[in-house]
Symmetry: C2
Subunit: 249 residues, 2 copies
């Protein structure tokens, strides 16, 4: 068996998330595994670095699987792209050491969250950005973001449904809020060693709360320190603005 690492891109709009749910829903994993079975000639399990939620996109998801078939490594990406539907694509495929694991070998993940800032919703950006036309105080958001960098229990940013019993401590290495595309978009970029369930969307939800003036930046450390989602008054940001940009090894 050869272990193959795929760099995968998808538009999450029409998927019920990455992971197979066992309910007959359309998932990225199920779609990939079906295509992989066709080129491999045997059942394949595709394991991803980040199990993105329903509606979340990826530019640089990393997936590994084991291949018994004889297809040459350099043909895997083009063979898959010929089979996969338009909303999933394989950017590259590489043979890796048999102990490489897309999730456990990853050192960090980087996500970007896009907010559409114009007075009217966008037909072109509607799939990839969340419309938020209210005035937002960028400086206050940046101040709040700086409070969240570092290693701590991120339980107050974790929705129910994560791995039970595991640690809630994560290290946020970088978190920045910037305006782009002539201020039509605001982008939140976040890098951490790993993320809890819906953690990015809860961080963005809090930053938007702060931007609107519903929460002072000075209130952020206490909520973060509480470690409990029910003590965090901010909503979870919707999925469509979120994209897994890259995974670092």
């Amino acid at each position: 068996m050869r272990r193959i690492k795929l760099l995968v891109e998808y538009d999450g709009t029409d998927f019920a998330g990455f992971q197979v749910q066992g309910k007959g829903e359309r998932t990225v994993q199920g779609t990939l595994e079906e295509a992989l079975k066709r080129i491999a000639g045997h059942d394949v399990t595709a394991i991803a670095a980040g199990r993105t939620d329903s509606g979340v996109h990826a530019r640089g998801q990393v997936v590994h699987f084991d291949l018994a078939g004889r297809i040459p490594g350099e043909r895997i990406a083009s063979a898959l792209n010929g089979i996969l539907p338009r909303d999933v694509a394989v950017r590259r495929a590489d043979e890796v050491a048999s102990d490489f694991h897309s999730r456990f070998s990853a050192k960090s993940r980087t996500y970007v969250y896009l907010l559409w800032r114009e007075p009217a919703r966008s037909a072109l950006w509607g799939r990839f950005a969340t419309w938020e036309s209210a005035p937002l105080n960028l400086e206050a958001m940046q101040e709040a973001a700086s409070c969240l960098i570092g290693t701590r229990d991120f339980g107050s940013f974790a929705n129910a449904g994560g791995d039970p019993g595991s640690t809630l401590v994560r290290e946020v290495k970088r978190l920045e809020v910037v305006e782009i595309e002539g201020r039509s978009l605001m982008a939140v970029r976040i890098t951490a060693n790993a993320f809890l369930r819906s953690m990015v969307r809860n961080v963005v939800g809090m930053l938007v709360c702060v931007g609107k003036g519903d929460l002072a930046p000075s209130g952020v450390p206490a909520i973060a320190a509480s470690g409990r989602r029910e003590l965090n008054p901010c909503p979870t940001a919707p999925p469509q603005g979120l994209c897994l940009l890259r995974v670092e090894y």
Copy 2:
């Protein structure tokens, strides 16, 4: 009756073009007129500056219509956006003079055509850019583009189906080819007083021909001067890379 000017954005992927075809197909015009009828309380005809083809997008299409209803001007855009499907949005609505005409009053139109340049197709850009992974000589394309600027008969860039008997002379005011997004995309931006049917896609088709080395830049003027599409050996570029960026009055 008040005349209203709309700035309209749409993702053309799931539309059979702007104009109502009379065959029960889903069109931007039909979708807009249905929403306008609901807010106006009477039948409305929506007239666009550019009758974009099936699959072509718009960021800044301009549409005018006449309104008898009492809805205040400042509420028109938000009322329409509440009714319209996700792939059409009204960026703004303004009351204009009764002799304003979206098409006949326009001084120029600007389109952008995006080419996706990476080795693999893109799941995120697939709706909005045409995948062209072959090596392209940017300098040759820019040289060819400069030959097409100016006023001439553009018949060799017009597909059948335009207004019969009308002039084929158009003025291309600006035409540039640039690499963007770290060379993952190539953009062709073109401004003209008006365009013939599929003219932008034929110009891009020729520039890609030149970029691939299938046609020398020095061969462009003779083809342009012929005025006959059948003497132009280059294919028409596919619609999904094309977007009507803005209309100038």
